[in-house]
């Protein structure tokens, strides 16, 4: 099971919220404890005062009257009884038993130092002390504890000896001051909680915005190395990342353009010497030798021309426009017919497709050249769709082995059949076709047909490409 959420936002919320909740609980605990103790003390003082008042009153009455008066005062949480046995005063109150020591101090102060007072503390109300936990106790949300045994508060038994030796015993419950968690505290917590969530959301969006921008830029880099550089703004870390990214993109573009320039210049500069050699070859008397020269030079020329074409950025030179794809394919068929090569067309495409006409023509011509070169005859099968159009170029040649299929799009790769049969071709045609298709948002794929031959599939999306 995952402990931390996946997103940065989730993690930040968890950390902030967790921390805040802990801090809130701790401070609430401290505050409530303090408050409870104060209330408890105040309650103890009042009880001691009450007891001392009753003791003084009983003192002034004859023994016969005392029982009546005691009955009057006998009301929870204080139970007054006059006929209990003497209680042994156990050990001196421990320092830690704050209520008890405080209690006896107050009583002694009220009744005089020589008064005989026994204060005992019990964990539970004594048998018969029915008043404990009675109606006098306020019910709260959460009982507050201060080392007391039970939820009912602290029970004290106080025995005071009157001057004539009679014992008055008080069973009392020092009502726990139930410091209820007030609704305000809850509300405060809720407000804080919401604030934290909203703030984290804002902070995360703010901080991760550039991050997702960076991610998108990296993705787009794969499609177009010449994307405009990222804005180098925002927090230091983001700025630095953007700058690093821009530097990387610049270097990549520089590297690519250097390579392209070298290859283009080489190919270009080869044209003049090839032209000269062609003219020289024409001056040769040996007919067979001249034919060989011309053939070699034609190959070199094809290599140069195709390389330049491969290197050229087709998307830059021509705008995309609505094109009657069927007319384009039929015009290609016309061109092949003029060269004495038959191309069959099956199916139709009725609605215009948004493409760059010359680039697409080159793409299809390359696929057809391949089909005719290796597969004797070419058939074009058209599939019209709402989202995309599919153009299949089928041949009846030997097809390709799996290994050849995998390498077919690599620049300058030529299949065995191509090399051994001197069919010509440079090994760039398919690559050029695929580049053009991809620049249109589509693709070219190759597969062997079920019975015999190869099938090149060109898929073009109908949606307008930028």
């Amino acid at each position: 099971m995952r402990i931390l959420p996946e997103s940065l936002f989730g993690r930040l919320v968890v950390v902030l919220l967790g921390g805040l909740l802990l801090a809130q609980l701790a401070s609430a605990y401290i505050n409530l404890t303090e408050r409870g103790q104060l209330l408890y003390r105040a309650g103890g003082m009042r009880l001691a005062q009450q007891i001392s008042d009753i003791v003084r009153l009983l003192e002034s009455l004859p023994p016969a009257e005392r029982r009546k008066v005691a009955a009057v005062f006998n009301a929870p949480p204080l139970i007054v009884s006059l006929d209990r046995v003497a209680l042994a005063n156990d050990a001196a109150p421990a320092e830690s038993d704050l209520p008890r020591s405080m209690f006896s101090t107050v009583l002694r102060y009220a009744l005089g130092d020589d008064a005989k007072i026994v204060v005992l503390r019990r964990g539970a109300p004594p048998a018969g002390a029915s008043g404990a936990g009675g109606p006098g106790l306020r019910k709260g949300m959460m009982p507050h504890r201060m080392g007391d045994a039970g939820p009912g508060g602290a029970f004290f038994v106080i025995q005071v000896a009157l001057r004539d030796g009679a014992l008055v015993t008080f069973d009392s419950q020092l009502a726990p001051q139930e410091a209820a968690l007030p609704w305000r505290v809850g509300l405060t917590l809720l407000v804080l909680l919401l604030t934290v969530v909203v703030l984290s959301l804002v902070a995360v969006r703010w901080m991760t915005g550039p991050l997702s921008l960076l991610a998108r830029a990296a993705e787009e880099l794969g499609e177009n190395i010449h994307n405009p550089p990222l804005a180098e703004s925002g927090p230091t870390e983001v700025r630095r990342a953007a700058r690093a990214f821009n530097t990387m993109q610049r270097r990549l573009a520089q590297y690519l353009s250097d390579r392209t320039r070298i290859l283009t210049a080489m190919s270009h500069d080869l044209k003049t010497p090839i032209t000269r050699m062609r003219l020289r070859a024409e001056a040769l008397d040996d007919e067979a030798l001249r034919a060989k020269f011309v053939h070699d030079l034609a190959e070199m020329e094809a290599m140069v021309t195709q390389t330049l074409e491969f290197m050229r950025d087709t998307s830059a030179s021509e705008p995309a426009q609505p094109v009657d794809l069927l007319a384009l394919i039929e015009s290609l068929r016309g061109d092949y017919a003029d060269m004495g090569k038959a191309v069959a067309v099956e199916g139709a495409i009725r609605q215009p497709v948004h493409v760059r006409p010359h680039a697409l023509r080159r793409c299809l011509a390359n696929l057809l050249d391949n089909a005719i070169r290796y597969g004797e005859r070419a058939t074009i099968r058209l599939e019209d769709g709402a989202r995309e159009v599919v153009v299949r170029v089928l041949d009846e040649g030997p097809g390709m082995s799996a290994e050849e299929l995998a390498k077919a799009f690599e620049p300058f790769y030529r299949g065995e059949a191509s090399r051994s049969r001197e069919t010509g071709g440079t090994g760039l045609g398919l690559g050029i076709a695929r580049n053009i298709a991809r620049a249109h948002g589509g693709d070219v794929t190759l597969q062997n047909r079920a019975d015999r031959g190869l099938e090149a599939t060109l898929v073009l999306p109908r949606a307008a490409q930028s």
Binding site: I274, R278, L279, E282, A283, V323, D324, L328, E330, H358
Partner: protein, 238 residues
């Protein structure tokens, strides 16, 4: 008298080799290295055709071609090392009669020279029509830069090379009957033999492409026993 050809190319080796080759093919040939020398040569002698390299020191071949067109209708074949679509297009626009990409085959060049000269002598050039960038007719626009048709709805409708050539010639000579021989010569640079149906086939394909009624064509009409005629008004746009 043999046709006199002037070669303008900055590569000395190519100049010499090309002149030798042209001479061995029965032409008279001279060569110069740049535009300045070209104007000087044109001042001294009359030439039947120019072979002009696009990449020249000083004024480039395209500029020279445009200036040439103002003074003379001597046919021009442009040579370029770039071999890109735009070069050919701009070259033709500047008034060149044909275009060849380096490294060209010398035999191809001689074939083109022969064809251009023949064409030039068959029909007078329609300079205005030949240098138009767009030709409008019957709701269609022929884009001579991109070499395709654009329909009234703005949809690109491609043409094969031969279809384009035939349509281009017809549009350059509207309301003028062109014989099969003339069309053949103007588009292919050779005469048609009596049984050749090439032109008929191209015209029929063109009618289909233009949506013309095949039984009763309205745009490209057949003139029985003579040839074809473009029967709609043509509007040129430079």
């Amino acid at each position: 008298m043999d046709d006199h050809i002037l070669v303008v190319d900055d590569d000395a080796e190519i100049r010499n080799l090309l002149c030798d080759y042209l001479r061995s093919n029965g032409y008279r040939a001279s060569a110069v290295a740049d535009g300045k020398a070209m104007w000087a040569a044109l001042g001294r002698a009359r030439y039947d055709l120019l072979v002009l390299d696009v990449m020249l020191p000083g004024e480039d071949g395209l500029t020279l071609c445009r200036k040439l067109r103002v003074e003379t209708d001597t046919p021009v074949i442009m040579l370029t090392a770039r071999g890109e679509e735009t070069d050919r297009i701009v070259g033709l626009e500047m008034g060149a009669d044909d275009y060849l990409a380096k490294p060209f085959s010398p035999r191809e060049l001689v074939a083109r020279i022969r064809s251009v000269l023949r064409r030039h002598r068959t029909l007078p050039r329609n300079l205005k029509a030949d240098s138009a960038q767009r030709v409008r007719f019957a709701g269609w626009t022929l884009d001579t830069v991109a070499r395709h048709l654009v329909s009234a709805q703005g949809v690109v409708t491609s043409l094969s090379g031969s279809e384009y050539e035939v349509l281009r010639v017809l549009l350059s000579h509207p309301n003028q009957v062109l014989t099969r021989d003339q069309l053949m010569l103007l588009t292919k640079g050779r005469e048609a033999d009596p049984l050749d149906r090439t032109i008929d086939l191209q015209v029929s394909r063109l009618r289909h492409r233009l949506g013309d009624d095949l039984a009763e064509p309205r745009i490209i009409k057949t003139v029985r026993g003579q040839g074809y005629l473009l029967a709609v008004p043509v509007e040129l746009e430079r």
